[in-house]
Symmetry: none
Subunit: 243 residues, 2 copies
Amino acid sequence: MIPEDHPRYRSLVVRERLARCAQEGIVALEGLTAHGRGEAFDYLIGEETSPGALRAERIAAALLLSAEHAVISVNGNTAALAAGLIAGLQEASGAAVEVNLFHRTSERMAKITRLLEDHDVRVLSGVPERLLPLPHDRALCLRAGIGSADVVLVPLEDGDRCQALCGMGKKVIAIDLNPLSRTARSADLTIVDELTRAIPATTRFCHELDRTEAGALSEGFDNREFLQEAIRAIIWRLEHALD
Amino acid sequence: MIPEDHPRYRSLVVRERLARCAQEGIVALEGLTAHGRGEAFDYLIGEETSPGALRAERIAAALLLSAEHAVISVNGNTAALAAGLIAGLQEASGAAVEVNLFHRTSERMAKITRLLEDHDVRVLSGVPERLLPLPHDRALCLRAGIGSADVVLVPLEDGDRCQALCGMGKKVIAIDLNPLSRTARSADLTIVDELTRAIPATTRFCHELDRTEAGALSEGFDNREFLQEAIRAIIWRLEHALD
């Protein structure tokens, strides 16, 4: 047991949950490494939601609300860290949820679907087709889901897939702690924030915004500004690191 | 299978190797997350050896060559990533190699020892004793190894253990990609470079330096300079990231 007053309590609990999910086959072992990378960037941004990230979360809510057919793409890490939070966002935004895995096996698909459904997420099902311009199984998605979505929220997504979705003309919202990643740079909107802070914040904005505000907000933002702001925050922290 | 044209191919292959070693019980699940943190910092330093890191590697070689009794402390991640490279450094430096694990079980000790020996590393054996001022099994090391070493090279070491070794008056050389970590700050010399670049570079300097040069180099360096240089390199990269 991790003592609740441990200064790294939250981070240690999360790491323990991910390790347990890896043993259960929900999180890929590669997902643990990806989480570590995220941890490093979260440390560098100060482990809190920056004002810029909060603005991006508000616009993300606006994009989800204004979409014809919004889809939240969920992978193993996202399910392990935020199944219940995804249910809340689905409820608030009306978006569909599709399971989409980099390390795709039917067993993992089933386990992750079950975990999400246990948290009251309504998960799209159907026969996946090769709809994305990517090799092998990574092209797979549902025609009624990501295949026909106009807005896709990709938390913790691989750069290739993010770019492929953008190339298909979809509006892509990424949640990525690394403001330099290909995902962060290629997405239409990047929330540089930790998943379990980003999802509830976006959910809250979905509840707050009305249709008119959402429509206005979803036009005319510059993602570069969000990335630059995140980078400046990291630089500031580094500059003061050895004081 | 990872497609060979994936822009992050090398990084994905390394991650896959670590995942395989985790399945075999060589790498701890916590080691996968730790690797991810390192990956993030390597990304930020540009995934190449900086001039500062190269100077540190030269001094590391000098320290190993000038030592009475140098020991390379090897953990699961180090063995998984660099068993063959450790053999080369042992050959060039004359250092002893001791297996030292944070998540220590006799099964993991045996597996890692076997992996190293398969790569022609001569691994110290014997009955471990509680010689480090740390709780539980983390105090364990060999009297004929780390216990009596004057110089210890700790690649990818935990902050507590690094500090404990320093506190025992040993000269500690750390290899750590995070210039802000406790390990990086407490070591006598920190190589801020990726393991599989740092070890061969240090090995090369072991071959190049003669005794007199090694003696001169091993005095009068300032580790703070190396850390500050690494932090400045990261800041520089971040400042130019969105140009």
